[in-house]
């Protein structure tokens, strides 16, 4: 094909980018101000919390950041609903973030490739299982950490909604849910998100898509071949070579 191909395309529009920046800012604030409370008996926790203005101030930052994050999440969901309802977003197997059976096979295929049993990497759509895992983990976190955090921040209000028989165990359970799942989220972001978007060969120090929203055609072809084909057809690949 002789048609001029663009050098890069937009992967995330400005709304998604703003939502992501709010998410990462509040995530970092929440992790930093909440961390000391996970292991308060450790010597350095007192030192660390003082960096954040002491336990009282850190608590305020944590609550404000938490509510901001929940609002950001609500905005994101509402935006998706809007995009879908107005027909601006269509659900297709190669572009969707929704997990499909193909993702399970992709995981297996990728492991085969890692071990050297297969010479072929799985072909990903717009969102690989790595991205999908990353994305839905946020939903899990919002549900578990967000709701338990909200309950812990407004205990008098929340207590009205708990049935009598739960009162003996609901509070320690909420505290455990909040702190253990937060630890999980931090570990997950550190290993999964940081490796895949920052440290991976060719990406260090980071993929700039989160700021520019753009992805080069080259990268699109390598990392999201199915998305590439969906946009430009198989012929694009040939014309490039």
């Amino acid at each position: 094909m002789n048609k001029e191909l663009p050098k890069e395309i937009e992967r995330f529009n400005v709304t998604f980018r703003i939502q992501h920046v709010i998410l990462l800012t509040t995530f970092l604030l929440l992790s930093f101000t909440g961390w000391a409370l996970k292991y308060p008996e450790v010597e350095h926790s007192r030192w660390w919390i003082r960096l954040w203005g002491g336990p009282e101030t850190a608590g305020t930052i944590h609550r404000v950041a938490g509510i901001t994050m929940l609002l950001d999440f609500a905005w994101h969901v509402a935006y998706l609903v809007y995009l879908f309802a107005t027909g601006r977003m269509k659900i297709a197997a190669t572009t969707t973030i929704i997990p499909l059976p193909k993702d399970v096979f992709d995981v297996l295929k990728n492991y085969l490739y890692f071990f050297g049993f297969s010479k072929e990497k799985p072909k990903f759509g717009r969102f690989s299982y790595i991205h999908k895992f990353d994305y839905w983990a946020v939903f899990w976190g919002m549900g578990i950490i967000g709701s338990s955090g909200f309950i812990l921040a407004f205990p008098v209000f929340a207590s009205n909604f708990f049935p009598q028989f739960t009162l003996g165990w609901i509070w320690p359970t909420m505290r455990i849910l909040h702190s253990d799942e937060a630890l999980l989220a931090i570990v997950f972001i550190l290993f999964w998100h940081f490796y895949n978007e920052h440290l991976k060969a060719g990406k260090f120090p980071m993929s700039w898509t989160w700021i520019t929203g753009k992805i080069s055609l080259e990268t699109l072809k390598h990392e999201h071949p199915l998305d590439y084909e969906q946009r430009f057809g198989k012929t694009g690949e040939k014309s490039d070579e």
């Binding site: 409370l37 009282e56 050297g116 010479k119 320690p172 505290r175 997950f188 999964w192």
Partner: protein
């Protein structure tokens, strides 16, 4: 003008001198003396008083004989029993159990703090001493520290300062012997530290409630006594001091209960969550490491392989 000041100062000095002289004259010896001595009744006493620390303390303005009531005559000649005020003498059966060297001085606090002492005597602590004649349970000094250097509770060095209360209460409530002897709830200090309040407290939060904030201090009662501030309707009120609008349902929250097998949902819930953390951790780590390995392998071995 100068003249007038001079008169005023000398006037004051004339009146203050006897008082100053009295504390000072004891301290002439006792600030210089070092170490311990065996007293008349055979008890070893620390004879040194740090006069500077004493004068800076809450009671630095008092005379020695303000508390050491039996030491009116110099030097150290005990006064007759009759000279000890009745309200102090009345306490002697209790204070003599706790302080062997000068039980009178130990009871002398009542002279200035009668209401507090009355509350203490009827408290769960005081009853143990004054009624049950036990040596366990605190009198003034057990919590407020060395009588000569008592600091105000807002002072960080005070054992009853917010930051030190847990340790001070723990001196008995963490003692296995005391806990078993009186059938107290065990591991309360540990349980508190595990609680949400406790975790913040350890981090140095200044507004988080510590033992006395909910249980009371001098007049502390058994937690399930009808007048206890952490029992029944009073608990709702106590919680409500910080948690505005607290209801009975809210106050039903366990403030410091062990997360043990007797509370299976949080106990096993935590185990499941830990499994989940390790599961996710294992998957992500293996994926990341293997992928990094395969990338390096491709770079080194299969140089041509990238575009396939």
């Amino acid at each position: 003008m100068r003249y007038r000041v001079f008169i005023a100062v000398s006037f004051l000095l004339v009146f203050l001198f006897p008082a100053l002289a009295m504390a000072e004259s004891c301290l002439i010896c006792h600030s210089a003396m070092k170490g311990r001595m065996e007293g008349r009744k055979g008890f070893v006493v620390d004879v040194n008083i740090d006069s500077e620390k004493f004068s800076e303390s809450k009671h630095g303005g008092l005379d020695c004989t303000g508390c050491h009531l039996t030491y009116k005559a110099q030097p150290h000649e005990p006064a007759k029993e009759a000279e000890v005020p009745a309200e102090v003498a009345e306490l002697m059966p209790g204070t003599s159990l706790k302080g062997k060297t000068d039980p009178v001085a130990l009871g002398a606090c009542v002279g200035c703090h009668p209401d507090i002492y009355a509350g203490l005597k009827e408290s769960v602590h005081g009853r143990n001493i004054f009624r049950k004649k036990q040596t366990d349970g605190p009198l003034c000094l057990d919590c407020h520290g060395n009588p000569h250097y008592i600091a105000s509770a807002s002072d960080k060095s005070s054992p009853v300062n917010h930051a030190n209360v847990l340790r001070t209460c723990g001196r008995c409530h963490e003692e296995k012997e005391v806990v078993e002897k009186y059938g107290l709830s065990s591991h309360v200090i540990e349980k508190y530290k595990e609680s949400f309040h406790g975790k913040k407290y350890i981090l140095g939060h200044k507004k988080v409630p510590i033992c006395n904030d909910c249980h009371g201090s001098h007049a502390v009662l058994e937690w399930d006594a009808p007048d206890s501030p952490v029992y029944g309707a009073s608990k709702v009120k106590t919680c409500g001091r910080c948690h505005e609008g607290a209801t009975e349902k809210f106050a039903a929250a366990p403030a410091h209960k062990y997360i043990g097998k007797e509370n299976p949902i949080p106990y096993y819930g935590e185990k499941v969550l830990i499994l989940l953390v390790f599961g996710v951790f294992g998957f992500t780590l293996s994926h990341v490491l293997l992928e990094a390995y395969s990338e390096m392998r491709d770079k080194l071995v299969r140089k041509e392989g990238r575009d396939e």
